[in-house]
């Protein structure tokens, strides 16, 4: 082994160690904060292991009204927006997989939309939602619609490959048997793409679940989880904030660990903030 390859091996080891520490240590500290009393979290020098254990922060998530309703609102907004985005995304992806004009229109709309900064949309959108009467609504319906619009590109890109892979002979056979185009779409294309539809639903759900900017501006008092976590963090409620943060991670981490490499392509294709 010469010096150069030994240096490479050392660099490789250092990088691996760094990656594991950067991924695991912060999560450990978060978990520790969520089960220790707040006084202990503010101790100096900081404690690296919990000295006292408590479940009070997790219990507060389910007992404090503000926290519980934020969890429910986040779930609702994410579910509704994922359903709308996947439906509209499936329509767009289907058309894009069948016609080059549709493809051009779809791609230019999606990339044009991507250039818009959140803040340039959210402030005027808030004013519009207020005039329609769904600004900061307790159900979060305004935010759900916005999240659906942001998530359509993700859904469409996830579903495009699935629709492009369906053999046209099948559609032709159905056509000859007298099925209308909409019926072909509903009873043949959608069921055949069901694995990708599930992926699209999950990705859109997580996109909404994690989204912070629009949620902060559109739901000013009836908050979803990310803005609520922001206020708890900034105003020093360490314990509940840590418990909330830990709970927030569950959906996303489950997906990545379970689906892992299978998601690679779609994660990078749909990533945006």
């Amino acid at each position: 082994m010469n010096i150069r390859s030994r240096a490479l091996a050392a660099a490789r080891f250092a990088l691996s160690a760094f990656v594991i520490v950067a991924a695991v240590l912060p999560l450990y500290l978060l978990a520790k904060q969520s089960v220790t009393p707040e006084l202990e979290t503010f101790a100096w020098p900081p404690h690296w292991t919990p000295h006292h254990l408590t479940l009070a922060h997790f219990i507060s998530v389910f007992e404090v009204n503000e926290l519980r309703s934020a969890v429910l609102r986040s779930l609702g907004v994410a579910a509704v927006s994922a359903a709308i985005a996947t439906l509209l995304g499936a329509m767009l992806a289907h058309a894009m997989a069948r016609s080059s004009i549709a493809q051009r229109i779809g791609l230019s709309t999606v990339s044009g939309i991507r250039l818009l900064p959140m803040i340039a949309v959210a402030i005027p959108l808030g004013i519009i939602l207020a005039t329609v009467g769904i600004y900061d609504s307790p159900s979060g319906i305004g935010l759900a619609i916005v999240h659906a619009a942001i998530a359509i590109p993700t859904a469409a890109l996830t579903l495009y490959a699935a629709f492009a892979a369906i053999p046209l002979e099948i559609e032709e056979a159905a056509w000859i048997d007298g099925a209308s185009p909409i019926r072909i779409f509903l009873t043949i294309d959608l069921p055949m793409a069901r694995a990708s539809i599930a992926t699209a639903l999950i990705l859109c759900f997580i996109l909404s679940w994690d989204e912070f900017g629009f949620a902060l501006l559109v739901q000013q008092t009836n908050r979803t989880l990310p803005p609520l976590l922001y206020y708890y963090t900034v105003f020093g409620n360490v314990g509940p904030a840590s418990a909330l943060a830990l709970l927030m991670m569950i959906p996303a981490v489950c997906v990545v660990v379970a689906l892992g490499p299978a998601l690679r392509g779609t994660l990078t294709a749909g990533s945006s903030r």
Partner: protein, 295 residues
């Protein structure tokens, strides 16, 4: 981006399916435009409205020193963060695609920061970098001085913001570069080895040129996203600590109750993103055409 797989041999193209296809394109696109583009255009109009049409909102911005700080940071922070992401992402991608050191555990650990919701990463980062946070605790244990990582207006705070921003999205850059690395045929590496090229020569003359399309794509996409930095600054330092255009606009709207000035600031950001985004895309197209001509 170009998607392939269009099949023109669809023999049953007829009025009914054409009509359906039109509906399928128009409905989602109108929905996106109505929810995102039209509000932004409305904001553009309102940004020129100061008790009647005028440029007063922009003039107010240009007289505000905070605006110029925000503008400067909005160039500096994304630039720094893209560089950090790129260097780390490339190192990780090279390590994880090398045959000898492929490891599912390290790959999962490397992707994990992206799977964690952004706001959770930021919450964590705040507890780590606070004056009496874990990092200073670790420094104290090692017998070193504590550092004011988040102190407002300091270059160190800018550095911390860059680092935390890069932490969350490095996995995306890594995945894009890994996808690019996997398309490089093994024969090229073999030929380089037979010609006696060492590790670094192979890297410089084979890997980097072949990876160029993936690198350009990753830099453009990440660059556009990085310009829109908002939550990192808001959570770590507050809107005044290391102001960027998004947080500046947000505090004009939320704290100062000046919606029209806020829209003016956000329009300047939108203009910046559009210019850099379109410029990057044109450069990339030119690049790929040159590449095609050479091949």
């Amino acid at each position: 981006m170009r998607l392939c797989g269009i099949r023109s041999r669809f023999t049953t193209v007829n009025a009914a399916s054409k009509r359906l296809r039109t509906v399928f394109v128009v409905v989602p696109c109108i929905f996106m435009i109505a929810m995102l583009l039209l509000p932004a255009l409305n904001g553009l109009l309102l940004s020129f409205d100061h008790h009647g049409p005028s440029l007063a909102n922009y003039r107010i911005l240009f007289d505000d020193s905070m605006f110029w700080r925000a503008l400067g940071n909005n160039l500096l922070v994304p630039f720094g963060s893209v560089i950090v992401e790129f260097v780390l992402g490339l190192a990780l991608a090279l390590m994880l695609t090398a045959r000898r050191s492929r490891s599912a555990l390290i790959e999962t650990a490397a992707i994990l920061p992206f799977a964690i919701p952004e706001i959770v990463i930021l919450t964590l980062a705040r507890y780590i970098f606070l004056p009496r946070g874990y990092l200073n605790g670790a420094l104290a244990m090692a017998g070193m001085h504590a550092l004011p990582w988040l102190s407002p207006r300091s270059p160190l705070a800018t550095f911390t913001v860059i680092l935390v921003d890069a932490w969350h999205v490095t996995p995306v850059v890594m995945l894009m570069l890994m996808a690019g690395l996997q398309t490089i045929p093994d024969e090229l590496y073999e030929a380089a080895r037979l010609d006696g090229a060492g590790t670094f020569a192979t890297f410089w003359f084979v890997t980097i040129p072949m990876l160029m399309p993936a690198i350009v794509g990753a830099l453009i996409l990440r660059g556009i996203d990085a310009l829109r930095i908002f939550s990192t600054v808001l959570v770590l330092t507050g809107p005044e600590g290391v102001p960027v255009l998004s947080t500046y606009s947000y505090s004009l709207w939320d704290d100062a109750q000046k919606p029209h000035e806020a829209m003016a600031a956000s329009m300047i950001l939108a203009l910046m993103v559009t210019m850099i985004g379109v410029g990057g895309l044109l450069a990339a197209r030119r690049f790929s055409r040159d590449d095609g001509a050479r091949a």
